[in-house]
Amino acid sequence: MAEYLILIYEDENAYATASPDVFQEVMEAHNRFAQQVGEKGGKLIAGNALQPTPTATTIRGDVVTDGPFVETKEALGGYYLIDARDLDHALDIAKLCPARFGGVEVRPIMVFPQG
């Protein structure tokens, strides 16, 4: 098994203007996903939603500025850390990850050799 980070990139504006029904659906979809990871034979290690990018603060060197690291239409809005057998397994799980206003990126966690 290996760890993969599923990064959820979505259009923040779509959420800003979404109805309560949509929010409800999204919440349910995420709850369902948390269950599906296990059903698919993977393991959910962690997962969180992030506050939108206007709340972000960036530091470069020691200069502190308002806003995200990179300004994009689809911003990082949440993540899941999962355990999967291999990339195909991770992708199989990540395909179920809700991201109706964007998509997800799957990144393997780097493993450092011991000793």
Binding site: R85, D86, L87, D88, M110, V111, P113
Partner: protein, 449 residues
């Protein structure tokens, strides 16, 4: 050479006394032949033992070098592939024993189970005592994994499955060697870092994954068939590699209809290779080719594959393209080609594969079935669509229809647009002649088109 058996003793220190076996030329030819035929098998089997692609490659290369020496002294073994595999695997095991740190920090992810959906691989060539499993499909599917960019899939397939050097691949794709080397390295790194498993996909994923493999092989073929730049019309090396790959896939997955379709398509298209340029290397279009010089054996082989590719459910895009190529191959002349049936096949193909390139080809066939105006209208629609912007065959096809309609100035303009999009000198020469014809001389078009 005969009866040398399979008893590899590779390496300068492992050789036995000189048995005075045949001339070095013969063994060198056998090694070259084994490189072409057996590379994929040897590497695929060695990768499983080495657990690391780079180490496997190194060991396989060493085994081929050793073969040059040993075969010249002891004769060519009865089963060169098994000899090479055993030699390469021994080297890998020795290397791993000698140096534990060689066990990759991010090893190739080998799956022990070997169920192969939708295929029945032939028995592997016998090794010494043990039967070496045929892992070539694993290798192919790993190289063509959708998590790798298409250009990386192509480079890796040539490198790992065909055994081409990075220099050769760089030359084939007219890319600087360091760029190609970086591309190959990056792809290999992703395979281990992201844990792309060394395995054949299961039945559910197989259709999509196989399509990616076939697309890579087809891309190799088309790159060789009509080189985007350079001197020659056809790059024989790439074309032959692509056909070799298609044959290999066919032998490994005999029940896959699209594999059959791809092999048929390549054979039927390649049967025309010798006639695609005249004695001076100038490009000849289908209309102007000497059909008596088409490769009848390749056509017969291709035609025999088509029915099986089409039958048994909705035909795939390669089977349909093969069916179209079959109609061309069977036509006694350009004029006597069954253009109406070709248009119909393109309609089915479009339903299976709504690609603008297919629409363009359909427009060309339509022009022959119903006249240039009908084809031109479709091409103009495609032009407005914009997806083929920068595709050189769109203005070229348009120019040809305009020329046949006697609209010479517009034709010359379109030929110039096509010219601006190709670096292939045979194509540029062809387009230059057309521009001269349409821009220079009066009277109706004098080429058959």
């Amino acid at each position: 050479m005969s009866a040398a058996g399979v008893n590899p003793e590779p390496g300068p220190d492992g050789g036995q006394a000189d048995s005075g076996a045949g001339p070095g030329d013969e063994s060198a030819a056998a090694v070259a032949d084994a490189h072409r035929r057996e590379w994929a098998f040897v590497l695929a089997a060695t990768a499983r033992v080495a657990g690391d692609i780079d180490l496997a490659e190194e060991c396989v290369q060493d085994a081929y070098v050793a073969a040059l020496d040993v075969w010249s002294r002891q004769g060519v073994p009865r089963n060169p592939g098994a000899w090479l595999t055993t030699a390469a695997r021994r080297r890998a095991i020795d290397a791993l024993r000698r140096d534990r740190t060689l066990r990759g920090k991010l090893p190739l992810l080998i799956e022990p189970v070997a169920p192969v959906a939708g295929s029945s691989p032939p028995p592997a060539p016998a090794g010494e005592d043990d039967v070496i499993p045929d892992d070539r499909l694993r290798l192919v599917f790993t190289c063509c994994h959708p998590a790798l960019a298409r250009e990386a899939q192509v480079a890796l397939t040539l490198r790992l499955v065909c055994g081409l050097t990075t220099t050769e691949i760089a030359q084939a794709f007219l890319v600087p060697e360091p760029t190609m080397a970086a591309r190959v390295t990056r792809a290999k790194k992703k395979i281990s870092a992201a844990r792309i498993a060394y395995r054949v996909p299961g039945a559910a994923e197989l259709p999509d994954r196989l399509d990616a493999v076939l697309t890579v092989v087809h891309l190799l073929y088309t790159t060789g068939h009509m080189a985007p730049a350079g001197e020659d019309v056809v790059r024989g090396d790439l074309v032959e590699r692509a056909i070799d790959l298609a044959r290999m896939l066919r032998s490994l997955m005999p029940d896959e209809r699209e594999v059959r379709g791809l092999l048929a398509l390549l054979l039927l298209t390649d049967a025309r290779r010798a006639t695609r340029a005249d004695a001076d290397g100038r490009l000849l279009l289908l209309a102007d080719q000497d059909r008596s010089r088409w490769d009848r054996a390749a056509i017969a082989e291709g035609l025999a594959l088509v029915p099986g590719a089409l039958r048994g459910g909705r035909p795939g895009r390669f089977a349909l393209q093969a069916a179209i190529a079959a109609l061309h191959a069977e036509a006694p002349s350009y004029a006597e080609t069954d253009w109406r049936q070709i248009v119909q096949l393109y309609d089915v193909l479009l339903a299976a594969w709504p690609s603008p390139v297919v629409m363009l080809n359909r427009a060309v066939a339509l022009a022959l079935a119903e006249g240039p105006e009908a084809g031109l209208a479709q091409i103009q629609e495609l032009e407005r669509d914009g997806r083929l912007a920068g595709y050189r065959y769109l203005p070229a096809a348009k120019a040809d229809l305009l020329r046949r309609l006697g609209r010479r100035e517009e034709a010359a303009q379109a030929y110039r647009a096509a010219m601006a999009l190709t670096e292939n000198s045979a194509e540029r020469d062809f387009l230059g002649r057309r521009i001269a014809e349409t821009g220079g001389r009066p009277g109706p078009g004098n080429g058959a088109g």
